[in-house]
Symmetry: C2
Subunit: 358 residues, 2 copies
């Protein structure tokens, strides 16, 4: 087992990465301070791993909430369902919520924990590649609003993150590839060596070689933990982690959630950001092609499959947490392996890129 | 004008108390960092003070949300109304929310600010005595759930609190008295001198002598700021501010919100706590009588007007944020002017007190 620490002073916590972790009772329960535990999971994950996790918690008062599966349920009403379940059994401020599932379950559960009685403990047990390498680490929690993705939420750090890569055995290929999009993101935005490594090992990664999977999950979590430790509340550098996400969110929002998986939309969004960076003169077309090749080898989309109206897309982009005073700030590539946040791009270049994809 | 500082490191902020403050532009706008401002108020306060506050904000992009009046609207759906209004005009992370109104408006607005795009700035302009001396200071924000009061929320500190006591000119007598309940609370829980002062000056206070009002608001805010600075997240001493509130919340919850104003329910709740303290041998019956006299002179209720079922009341008490591992912790009086948190009272004494009031 590998262990990382996300260094945030009093709010620091460990990230455990390895195989067979869902059988290790002590690992989990050493991070639970009270007697009351709620496990939040979804209809896909519950039959696979819920009883396993419950078995670790025999000395606690445990209740469970099984959410319907899907991003469309990542809304305030679902969070309220969790509050109701907690209040029906009179769980108090000493309780711990455990998020068992993918990014949607983690985001919802984290926000419920942040807001129940003004904040209770929670633990992340991510079961998808995407949530293992991205959303379970760093304390971003929240839900979508009809008018914008992740617009409601808070920063609330978990007590620990338990990443059992064995849970990926039950993950379908499309979801696995969607997770790889966020892995590739770390290479692109700040770690050229890691990007080369991914390019050199993409075939073995696609066959899910377990040692390689542990290695890339570990590296991704390290890169993310490093950035979050420097900028927990995203006043600066943390925004780089949104590479491809302004475009990606606009794709998800205009096509409707679920048409593209989040990681798929981010893959297309990253390619758009990379192409805009080339048009702005930062990187070469050959480098763009290498990124595109890697995404394709990871079975990720590199085009938007359906027609979207240009103005609709631009409006969707403008509902983004990086917008300040009506200005859409984008994450661009200064060079491959080094991203920066920019409001200084040519509007005509942005328009050309968007129109090229719609 | 008097000025206090609530000392919370980077989150410190000033509390301004005085007359005619809603005409002082600089006071308000020096605490607004972006260009976008939303004023949240309610149907009672809007016709009285909304245009006044808007006049101070001519150099900003200002929108307003006017909520229906009443505790029954302090729910998640109302917070979502605010999110929708913010997103419809694409307000970003640099925006500031201003809560203009009583405790309900402040609590809702604060929670909306805490959760919009994972946290934006907000400012409190409390217009009731209760919100001026209590809820606007200290960063507790949140809404009610059908199964319990203030069960959903977060700690989110405002950028400043502007208390213009002239707004009390439009406050009706019942609301004014409800505010006095929280003022009396500070005396009871930690400031015997202040309690004596209130006892000696209750007649002038009831005639709303402006200098006296400023003095008691200032003292209440000082006492509260002092406690919050020591224990922002209520892991210890801050719980003392809940004197009378476990009983009070149960009264509000079982009678239905609005039958008793919050301050009225707290007044009865404080008397219950004081009587229990006497039964536990901490204070004398004569001291109980003095507290009861003061509450009555402040035109506050000292009995529960309607019949409540005992078990219903006890169940409502058990949904309280001070409950830990099924144990109802109460704030009791060690002596007059000195409260403490206790789980060590006689269950039979508690039962006797409750039954005496139902």
């Amino acid at each position: 087992m590998k262990q990382l620490n996300l260094d945030l002073g009093e709010k620091s916590y460990p990230i455990y990465i390895g195989q067979n972790l869902l059988n290790q009772e002590e690992l989990l329960i050493s991070h639970i301070s009270g007697k009351q535990v709620m496990i939040v999971t979804d209809a896909i994950v519950a039959p696979l791993y819920l009883s396993k996790v419950k078995n670790l918690l025999s000395s606690f008062e445990v209740i469970e909430v099984i959410l319907p599966d899907g991003e469309e349920y990542k809304i305030l009403d679902t969070v309220n369902t969790i509050f109701t379940a907690l209040l029906e059994v009179c769980f108090d401020r000493s309780c711990t919520l455990i998020a068992l599932g993918g990014g949607v379950v983690g985001d919802i559960t984290g926000f419920a924990a942040a807001s129940y009685q003004r904040g209770v403990d929670f633990i992340q047990i991510p079961t998808t590649l995407l949530s293992q390498v991205d959303s379970s680490v760093g304390g971003k929690t929240g839900v979508n609003h009809a008018l914008g993705k992740n617009m409601i939420g808070s920063f609330h750090q978990p007590k620990c993150v338990v990443i059992d890569v064995d849970t990926l055995d039950t993950l379908d290929d499309r979801q696995y590839s969607a997770g790889l999009a966020e892995v590739i993101k770390y290479g692109l935005l700040g770690n050229a060596d890691f990007l080369s490594y991914l390019q050199n090992n993409i075939d073995s990664l696609m066959s899910r070689d377990k040692n390689l999977v542990i290695k890339i999950v570990h590296q991704s979590c390290m890169d993310k933990a490093n950035i979050v430790a420097q900028d927990e509340l995203e006043v600066g550098k943390r925004a780089l982690l949104n590479l491809g996400h302004t475009f990606g969110h606009a794709i998800e929002n205009t096509l409707g959630y679920g048409v593209y998986l989040h990681g798929e939309a981010v893959a297309v969004g990253m390619l758009m950001a990379v192409k805009l960076s080339a048009l702005e003169g930062f990187i070469t077309n050959k480098e763009v092609q290498l990124v595109k090749d890697l995404l394709q080898k990871a079975n990720l989309p590199v085009v938007i499959s359906s027609k979207i109206n240009y103005q609709t897309f631009v409006n969707a982009m403008s509902v983004d947490k990086k917008v300040i005073n009506r200005e859409v700030r984008l994450i661009l590539m200064e060079k491959i392996g080094q991203a920066f946040i920019s409001n200084d791009y040519q509007q005509s270049n942005l328009e050309q890129i968007i129109k090229g994809f719609l």
